[in-house]
């Protein structure tokens, strides 16, 4: 299977005059086409750093990242911006919807930026909105939506332009459990239709919707878990790794 994301020995070090902080030790990871991968770890473990690097918002100190065959570490800022909006789709914890625009316009934005024809844009927005169950909300503005509806809108915006990779940063972080389940099921069905998703979370329940989980601890990959059985079994498995992780922390103390 084709590797959509290929990160080779990437690391991130913050250097100030007095201190050196290794946020991420050299790490290698791969995400294949059609995969739903989750990155887990306690806060401060380096998940956000990793996601920022993979989503091209930050540059690694060392190593290279290939997304859909293109080396993003070699790109200039302008190329990167173009690359992000064509190849990547983002779902953020705080939704990041533009409150000045309607749901329809928010979803349409990536296509509009790519100068797709208006008729085509509207058709695709309708289709994606139906898929995510927000068709009736298209003319509303983000302020009128619930958290779950906002995050579905964000998800719709993330997939509207058929990106090669969807990056989700704590997508359920601001949602109640019911909305979270709804969103994750929606993401799962997007994945079933072929979307490649990389999600960062600290919540085991959320992570259990993925097929594969990478655990990060103290700036490096700690463990990798694949899902074989039911979601419930997978969840138990995750909890076990977490205990292991927690134990490791306790040992240090």
């Amino acid at each position: 299977m084709k590797a959509i994301l290929q990160a080779e020995q990437i690391s991130k070090t913050y250097q100030t005059k007095t201190a050196r902080h290794e946020a991420l030790r050299p790490t290698t990871l791969r995400v294949h086409e059609g995969e739903f991968v989750s990155i887990m770890g306690p806060s401060g473990a380096g998940k956000s750093t990793l996601l920022n690097l993979l989503s091209t918002i930050d540059q690694p100190t060392d190593g290279s990242i290939l997304i859909n065959g293109a080396d993003v570490t070699a790109m200039k800022e302008k190329q990167l911006a173009r690359f992000r909006r064509e190849q990547l789709g983002f779902i953020f914890q705080d939704f990041n919807l533009l409150d000045t625009m309607t749901v329809r316009e928010n979803i349409a934005l990536p296509l509009s930026l790519a100068n797709v024809d208006k008729k085509m844009i509207l058709e695709r927005v309708d289709r994606v909105a139906r898929q995510l169950g927000i068709y009736d909300l298209l003319d509303k503005r983000p302020v009128e939506l619930s958290g779950g509806q906002k995050q579905r809108t964000a998800a719709a915006r993330a997939i509207i332009h058929d990106p090669s990779l969807i990056l989700a940063d704590e997508p359920t972080g601001a949602l109640d459990s019911k909305s979270a389940t709804g969103l994750l099921e929606a993401m799962q069905s997007l994945n079933n239709e072929g979307a490649t998703i990389l999600m960062v979370t600290h919540d085991p329940m959320t992570a259990s919707y993925a097929e594969r989980i990478l655990f990060v601890k103290d700036g490096e990959l700690f463990k990798e878990v694949h899902r074989f059985g039911s979601q419930k079994e997978f969840f138990e498995q995750i909890m076990e790794v977490q205990r292991e992780l927690g134990g490791a922390v306790r040992e240090l103390v």
């Binding site: 911006a81 983002f90 990041n96 000045t100 349409a108 934005l109 509009s112 100068n115 503005r141």
Partner: protein, 638 residues
């Protein structure tokens, strides 16, 4: 750290507020300069007229003080809003409200004091050059010296300290009204989508149209009714246009295919979300822009055409009605040479008319006709003299009127009877106490410049003229070699005529100097007032846009994450700021062009060049503000 120290610390963070301080300093500078110029010794000595015209500066400085007060009020409000979070932090850190209020009070006063010191300092140094500039536009010879006018300094300090005091007190009071939660509340959510009121939108534009239409109507007839009505229409229409028509326009734009092109979605959303709260500011700025452009344009135009105006008012270097030989002796002794001399015999005949026949009525504004029940007078000239004068003035000679006929003359240059789009007076009967004449032709020809109010004269054939029983007299008109210069001749002539100087002689030189001085002074005051208005409006838009930028930080962070590159973001900012800058500019410009078109009719000159000059200067400064605003906006959001 004491409060005053903290306030001082905050003041040092001046870079953010440099536009504000700049505008305040400039307002104070001009205010002080106006006061200083008014009391400038050198100017007072050079021209006695100048003392009387000082009222122009008094008036201008009052307007300036009022305008500055509004401007400072508005900007301080903006500062408070922008610093809400900072104030909240102080409160959280345990500063009492009273202390924070005092802090804000001290800061506001601090800016006032800095502005005053800078304004007066620059004003003192620059007033010499201001005086020189004024003297040159007034065509006066003055040796300006470096002076500090104590009274002006005191008055400036007094007035502006009072303004700042009031505003500082108000700002401090506002602090008490903020609750802690309000101070910390997240950035304002986007306002709800403004509703479209197509009827109001159309009505607003129609109102402006009605206002414009009224300017094309004969204003003079009902000036006191039409003028305020016209203003009301245009101002209401402007507010309506900015409030409703812009929303209408943006919504129409949102339904176009272009809406989904590139960054337009973001731009339209941002514009629509702000338009409601910007409407009042945009309308106010439109009106100020219109007033400023019209005032400056008018002043420039009048100043530009001084020579022509004076030439039309006093076409000859000198006109006299008596004592010809004595006058000529005086002229011979002076350094003026007589280039030409024309003489004309005139008889003044009473008439009983209280109203002129219709096509001639337009001249009634020059009070040609009789007042109420008193008989008025017409001047008559014989045909031979007319031919002489017409030839001397390079006019085509109209053929001799028969018995019972007359040619009507407009006796001053300028509003040419034939140029005016009115019914020709040919064929009209006029009647004096003896007989009546049928008018056969109309033209204009200066027969003299003595009778300011008598704009009409009639040419009759020599025979008819000779038979008129009234006593005739001779008017003599001279053209001098250098009529804009005087070596004391005017004074001697005035002495020669004594009490009759007002009625028996009229010279070019005093009118020229007087007109130049008056219009020069007006142009000077209008120019600097306009500049202050311009700087203040520019600063207001600047602040408003920066406040908007602060609120939009989050949005720009989002679009950056989505992959809108820096160039595209700059493009959005340019169009965003451009929209807000151009809307009041374009509408204000159109307003002032319509107003100036009326002026053109009144002046009857082609004022395109001076008007264009004023507009170009205004536009350049405005553009600079636009560029600075775009930069500052970009700095905030990226």
């Amino acid at each position: 750290m004491s409060l005053s120290k903290l306030a001082f610390q905050n003041l040092k963070n001046i870079r953010q507020n440099v536009m504000y301080l700049g505008a305040v300093t400039f307002a104070i500078l001009i205010y002080y300069t106006f006061l200083a110029i008014r009391s400038n010794e050198a100017m007072l000595q050079a021209n006695e007229l100048y003392g009387k015209l000082g009222t122009v500066f008094t008036g201008a400085s009052v307007i300036l003080a009022l305008f500055s007060a509004i401007f400072i009020w508005y900007s301080s409000d903006f500062f408070l809003r922008r610093r809400k979070k900072e104030i909240g932090l102080y409160a959280l850190l345990g500063l009492e409200r009273g202390q924070i209020a005092r802090l804000i009070f001290l800061e506001t006063m601090g800016y006032g004091v800095i502005g005053l010191i800078l304004g007066i300092a620059i004003g003192t140094v620059a007033s010499k050059y201001f005086v020189q500039l004024l003297a040159s536009v007034m065509a006066m010879q003055v040796d300006a010296t470096f002076t500090i006018s104590g009274a002006s300094v005191l008055q400036t300090i007094g007035v502006f300290l009072l303004i700042f005091l009031i505003i500082a007190l108000r700002s401090a009071r506002t602090i008490y009204r903020f609750t802690l939660i309000e101070l910390f509340k997240a950035e304002q959510q986007a306002e709800s989508l403004p509703k479209v009121h197509p009827i109001l939108a159309v009505l607003s534009v129609v109102l402006i149209g009605v206002g414009y239409y009224l300017t094309g109507q004969p204003l003079m007839d009902h000036f006191t009714i039409v003028a305020p009505l016209l203003m009301l229409c245009v101002i209401l229409g402007t507010f309506g246009t900015m409030s409703y028509f812009t929303i209408f326009l943006l919504r129409v734009l949102s339904n176009q295919a272009r809406h989904f092109k590139g960054t337009n979605l973001i731009l339209h959303g941002q514009l629509l979300s702000r338009i409601k709260s910007n409407a009042v500011m945009l309308s106010t700025i439109t009106v100020i822009t219109a007033v400023t452009l019209t005032t400056v344009g008018t002043a420039t135009s009048i100043y530009y055409f001084i020579d022509q105006t004076v030439e039309e008012q006093v076409p000859y270097s000198l006109s006299i009605a008596s004592k010809q030989s004595e006058a000529e002796q005086l002229i011979a002794k002076s350094d003026q040479k007589i280039d030409s001399r024309t003489m004309v015999n005139v008889k003044n005949v009473d008439h009983q008319m209280t109203d002129l026949p219709n096509p001639l009525t337009f001249t009634r504004y020059y009070a040609t006709y009789a007042y109420e029940d008193q008989p008025g007078q017409f001047s008559y000239v014989n045909y031979s003299d007319y031919v002489k004068l017409a030839k001397a003035n390079g006019k085509t000679v109209i053929k001799e009127p028969k018995q019972g006929e007359a040619i009507v003359l407009e006796t001053f240059k300028g509003n040419d009877l034939l140029k005016m789009k009115i019914k020709s007076p040919v064929g009209v009967e006029i009647k004096d106490v003896h007989e009546s004449f049928r008018i056969t032709a109309a033209t204009n020809l200066p027969i003299a410049q003595l009778y300011e109010k008598q704009r009409l004269a009639f040419v009759v054939n020599d025979d008819t003229f000779a038979k008129m029983p009234e006593k005739g007299f001779t008017l003599t008109n001279y053209q001098f070699s250098d009529e804009r210069h005087d070596d004391g001749l005017m004074k001697q002539l005035t002495q020669l005529y004594g009490k009759q100087a007002d009625t028996e002689m009229a010279a070019y030189y005093p009118v020229y100097t007087m007109t130049t001085a008056t219009t020069g002074l007006l142009a000077f005051a209008a120019g600097f007032l306009g500049l202050v208005f311009l700087l203040a409006t520019g600063s207001i838009i600047y602040f408003k846009m920066l406040a908007e930028a602060e609120e939009s930080k989050q949005r720009f962070a989002i679009i950056q994450k989505i992959g809108v590159d820096e160039k595209e973001q700059t493009g959005i900012i340019r169009r965003l700021v451009g929209f807000v800058f151009s809307l009041p500019y374009v509408l204000g410009l159109v307003h002032s062009l319509v107003a100036m078109q009326v002026l053109q009719k009144l002046l009857n000159y082609n004022i395109v060049r001076p008007t264009l000059l004023a507009i170009v200067c205004y536009t350049i400064v405005y553009l600079i503000y636009y560029i600075v605003t775009v930069r500052a906006y970009r700095r905030i959001v990226t």
